[in-house]
């Protein structure tokens, strides 16, 4: 069964540095998402992406964050000038279409640790 893959599985970064989290969505999916889960807390929506542009974003997704689909397969989340509170598990997801309750398929996540 096709899967969403995320790399790296664990990223350790110094505070203030930039980090890029990478995702390869399921190949025929058109909608892509990023979520984060701070340790011990619920999974929170960050952003959705369709047709090479952001379709929705949460209040968490401020100017520090950006997303990009640099080629036909990768979908990246960039965090500039990381802060300690950015430490979390980041999940990428994809769906075949948007709306209509299409299930989102998640990757294994990247654990980001900011020192």
């Amino acid at each position: 069964e096709p899967e969403v893959t995320q790399t790296p599985s664990h990223q350790v970064t110094q505070m203030g540095q930039e980090v890029i989290l990478r995702c390869v969505p399921i190949s025929n999916h058109l909608y892509f998402y990023w979520y984060r889960q701070i340790l011990g807390q619920k999974v929170e929506f960050l952003v959705s992406f369709y047709n090479n542009e952001i379709s929705e974003k949460s209040e968490i997704f401020d100017d520090q964050f950006s997303v990009e689909r640099p080629d036909g397969s990768n979908f990246t989340l960039k965090i500039r000038s990381t802060k300690l509170e950015d430490s979390a598990m980041y999940f990428c997801a994809s769906s075949a279409s948007g709306g209509s309750g299409q299930p989102q398929h998640f990757g294994d996540g990247t654990r980001l640790s900011i020192l």
Binding site: V43, E44, F106
Partner: protein
């Protein structure tokens, strides 16, 4: 704003027994979608079951079934014949009919004991 509440942080069940995980939500929308996701220790979020709010019939997937009570805004997950591999975090999630973002509950950690 939609909120999803899972009031049971942890639950345990004996192998082969049945367990029910609770979920309530709040929304002003009339049409929406509800999901249960499973997150085993391997971390991957796996879709367990999906319910469309306009369908009165409760969704079932093998040993997994839901009790969807729209008026009460309740969406519980029943796991029958529990297996050791069911041990995981279970997240209830809400998706509206317009936006694509999913709203998750805090999760319930289920342990199946041999």
């Amino acid at each position: 704003a939609q909120t999803v509440t899972q009031s049971q942080p942890e639950m345990s069940v004996q192998e082969a027994e049945t367990v029910t995980l609770s979920c309530t939500y709040d929304t002003s929308e009339s049409n929406y979608y509800l999901f249960w996701y499973k997150q085993p220790p391997s971390r991957q979020m796996i879709l367990v079951i999906r319910q469309e709010a306009y369908k009165q019939q409760n969704a079932t997937e093998n040993r997994f079934s839901v009790n969807f009570q729209k008026a009460a805004k309740s969406f519980s997950l029943k796991i029958s014949d529990s297996q050791l591999g069911d041990t995981a975090m279970y997240f209830c999630a809400f998706m509206g009919s317009i936006n694509n973002d999913m709203r998750f509950g805090a999760g319930t950690r289920l342990t199946v004991k041999p």
